[in-house]
Subunit: 417 residues, 2 copies
C-alpha cells in the first residue's frame, strides 16, 4: 500500500478528472460500486491469478468478503439488480481502487486504480469501438501514445466446445495461453479433446494474419457445426474492430495468442500498449464478456468493456507532468487585524486565482511563506490598511507593490489576469 | 454496502468534483492514502465507538489490518513519513470512502464517503477558520444552508489533568459526554479526580455563554496552575473562531457539551448542522488534534481539520438535484456504413456537446433510442449521406431537419449553441 502526495497526487487527480470528463462527454454515466463484495462474486470468473491474490476475509457475521480485485463483476451484479429496465445500450464508467495481495513489484501496487468503461446490452462491434475509442480519446488527451493489440478468444472456446471440453477446462487452457505456456495448453487440449482438437488450436494460435485465421475457419465448417456461423461472426467483429481503429489512425497489431487474465472473456479482446522509457508496457485492456450475467443467475445479456491501469499511466507521465496550478494569491493578515478581514478579502478574489489566508505577527514571515509556496501575488492587510479599508498588493515576480481599496482589488486582479 | 447509480451517482460525482475544485482553489493539495491500514493506526485514538465498529482482518502474513474508519490518522502518519520537510502550514484535502461495521440505518452506510480538509503545522486560529470556511464555501456553492455548533474540549482535558486524571480516562469521560451521559461522566470524574473536579466540570458543562466559561476559568487560576494560561488561550481561540464566523455571516451556536466521537481532539471542535426535511442533521465537523503525531512516535505538531459526510449531504440535496448534463448528440450510423465514419463525425462535434455513436439497421430504432435517452440532436449517416460526405442533423425538440456536409457540422452545431 502506498501514500500518494504532492505532484504525484495532483497527477492522479488530473487523470481521474480527465477520465471522468471524457467518459461523461461520450455518454457514459458514473456507477459507484462497493469496495467490499461477497467473495463468491469473484469466485466463478475472475481467473486463476486474480482469485489466488485476493484479499479475502470474514465479517463478524461469518460472511466471506473480498476487497474487489476488479469492477466488471460488480457492474454485472448492479445491472441485474438495478438497471435491467433501462433502454439499452447502457453506458457506464467508473474510477475505483482495486486490490491484489502479492509481493510488491515495480509499478504493481497492492491497491491500484482502475478507470473503466462498460457497455451493457449491445451485440454490435460499435459497442467495442465506443469503449475503445473513448479510452483512446482519454489517452490522446493526456498525451499517452498507444498501440492496440487485438485478439479473439471465441474461436478457441468454440473449437473446444465442439470437442466437448467444458467451460471450466477452457478457462484453464486459456489461462495457460495467457501465461505463454503454449505447450502445456496444447497438451491439455489433447488430453481433454483429443489430438485433432490440439492440432487445430495450435494452428490458429500460430496464425499470422486475420486472413490465415479465416482460411483455417473455412476448413472447420463441419467440425464447428452449429458454432460455425457464430465463430465467423466473431471473426468479422475482430476485422471490423481493427479496420475502424486503423481508419481512425490508430496502430493495431493482431495477435491470436492474446488471452487476457480474466476468465470471463468470450470473444473480442484487446490491450493497450504504451512505451515508457523505451519499454513497452501494458496500460489496460478489455473485451467482450457476453453472458457473464448467466453466471450470476440472470438472463443472457451482451457486454463489453475495458479498464485502464491508472497507476501505470501515472508512472508513464510522471517525468513530464507539471502541476497545473492556477496563479495563487496569499492574503497576509497581520495578527492585530481580525481574521475575518482576511476571509472577506479572500472571497473577493476572482475565481481564476487560487488563494488562501496566512496570519502572522511579522510581514516578512508572511512574504517568506508566500515565496516558499510559489505564490504569484500577496495581498497584505496590516492595521493601517485595515483601518482605511485598503490592501497592499505585491507582485512576487516583479516586486511591484500598490495600495488600493478593498473594493477595487477584484478589478485590479482582473486587470493583471 | 450499496450501489450508487443513475442521477444519484451523478450527484456524488458533482459533490466530489465541487469539493476538489473549491479545496484546490483555497490552496489545499490532494492526498491519497490507502483504504487498508494497519489496525494499530486506529487503535489508540479513534474513540470507542469507531474502534468497536471497524472492519478488522488478518492478511495472509498474519498482520492485523483495518478498512479505514476515517482518514485523519492516515494523514498524520503520512505527515510523519513524507511531509515533515515541507514549509508549514501544509494544507491537504481528500475524498475517501470509509467503513464501519454496524447494522444499517437510515442514511448510515457501511461504506461512506468523506470529504476532508487538514492543516498541519499551524497553531493559529486562522488554520481552524481556513478549513471551516473552505467547507462553508463548498456547502454554500452546492446550496446547503448550515449552522455551526462550536465547543472546546481543552478546558475539560486541562481540568482533568490538574486533578491527575490520565488521558485514557479523559477519553472515556469525554466519550460519555458525547453520548449525552452527563451523569455517568460526572460520576467517573468524581471517582477518578474527586468531588471538586466533578463540580467544576459540571459547572463548565452547564455554561450558557462564552462569558460564563470565562468567569469560571478566572476562578480556576490556582487549580489549573501551569495549565491556566494555555486554557485561557484555547478559550480565546473559541471566541475568535466564533466571532470571525459570525462576522462572515454564518450562524454559530456555542455548546459547551459538544464533544465529538473521536478521541484525538484536544481543543476547539465544531460541527455542521443542516436542515433536511424539517430535521436538523449533522453533516460533518472537525477540530484541533494538536499532538496526535506524538501518539505515533513523532515530534509534537499542531493540527486541525474537518470531514464532511458526503452521503448525508447527498441525501439532503437528492430531491432537488438535476442532472447537469450537457446537450447531447446521438450520431446514428446505419449498418451499411463503416463504423469509423460515425467516430470521425463524433470527434468533430464541439466539446460543449456530449455525444455518442449508435449503430443500427433501422433509422427508426436509432431515433427511438435518441428519444429515450434524452438526446437533443441526432446526426444521421446513412449510405446516401456517407457516399456524398454529408450528414443529416435533426433537432429532436423541433423536429427540424437539415442535410449538410460533414465539414460544416461543427459550424452548424456552434450556431445552435
Amino acid at each position: 500500500m502506498r501514500d500518494i502526495v504532492g505532484v504525484e497526487a495532483e497527477l492522479y487527480e488530473y487523470l481521474f478528472s480527465e477520465f471522468k470528463r471524457i467518459a461523461g462527454n461520450r455518454g457514459f454515466q458514473p456507477v459507484i460500486t462497493p469496495t467490499v463484495e461477497y467473495y463468491r462474486l469473484f469466485e466463478a470468473k475472475s481467473g486463476e491469478e486474480i482469485k489466488n491474490s485476493m484479499y479475502v476475509f470474514e465479517d463478524k457475521a461469518g460472511r466471506l468478503l473480498a476487497l474487489r480485485p476488479e469492477v466488471t463483476a460488480s457492474v454485472v451484479r448492479v445491472y441485474l439488480r438495478l438497471l435491467r429496465a433501462l433502454p439499452k445500450p447502457i453506458r457506464l464508467y467508473y474510477i475505483a481502487q482495486c486490490f491484489r495481495y502479492e509481493e510488491p513489484q515495480h509499478a504493481r501496487y497492492r491497491e491500484f486504480w482502475q478507470g473503466g468503461l462498460e457497455i451493457l446490452g449491445d451485440p454490435d462491434v460499435n459497442a467495442d469501438l465506443s469503449v475503445a475509442l473513448t479510452a483512446s480519446e482519454f489517452l490522446d488527451t493526456i498525451g499517452v501514445k498507444h498501440v492496440y493489440i487485438v485478439g479473439n478468444v471465441s474461436i478457441y472456446r468454440n473449437i473446444m466446445r465442439s470437442f466437448n471440453i467444458e467451460e471450466e477446462v477452457q478457462d484453464r487452457i486459456l489461462h495457460l495461453i495467457d501465461k505463454e505456456k503454449i505447450d502445456s495448453a496444447i497438451e491439455e487440449v489433447k488430453l481433454r479433446g483429443g489430438s485433432e482438437a490440439a492440432e487445430i488450436i495450435y494452428k490458429v494460435l500460430s496464425a499470422r494474419t486475420l486472413d490465415d485465421v479465416e482460411s483455417y475457419l473455412q476448413d472447420l465448417r463441419t467440425t464447428l457445426g452449429d458454432l460455425y456461423e457464430k465463430t465467423l461472426q466473431e471473426h468479422a467483429r475482430t476485422r471490423d474492430f481493427i479496420t475502424a481503429l486503423q481508419e481512425l489512425g490508430y496502430q493495431v497489431v493482431f495477435n491470436p495468442k492474446l488471452v487476457r487474465g480474466l476468465a470471463y472473456y468470450t470473444g473480442l479482446i484487446f490491450e493497450y500498449k504504451a512505451v515508457d522509457k523505451g519499454l513497452e508496457v501494458s496500460i489496460g485492456g478489455g473485451g467482450r464478456y457476453d453472458g457473464l450475467s448467466v453466471v450470476y443467475n440472470g438472463p443472457f445479456e451482451y457486454f463489453t468493456g475495458l479498464a485502464l491501469g491508472l497507476d501505470r499511466i501515472a508512472l508513464t507521465l510522471s517525468d513530464n507532468f507539471q502541476s497545473q496550478r492556477k496563479r495563487t494569491v496569499c492574503v497576509i493578515v497581520l495578527r492585530e487585524v481580525p481574521a475575518s478581514a482576511g476571509y472577506r478579502v479572500l472571497r473577493s478574489i476572482p475565481p481564476v486565482f487560487r488563494g488562501f489566508v496566512y496570519r502572522t505577527r511579522s510581514l516578512s514571515k508572511g512574504l517568506e511563506h508566500a515565496n516558499k509556496t510559489g505564490c504569484d501575488y500577496v495581498v497584505i492587510i496590516g492595521s493601517a490598511e485595515y483601518e482605511q479599508g485598503k490592501v497592499t498588493v505585491k507582485d512576487m515576480k516583479t516586486g511591484e507593490q500598490v495600495t488600493l481599496s478593498v473594493n477595487s482589488l477584484s478589478e485590479y486582479l482582473h486587470s493583471v489576469t
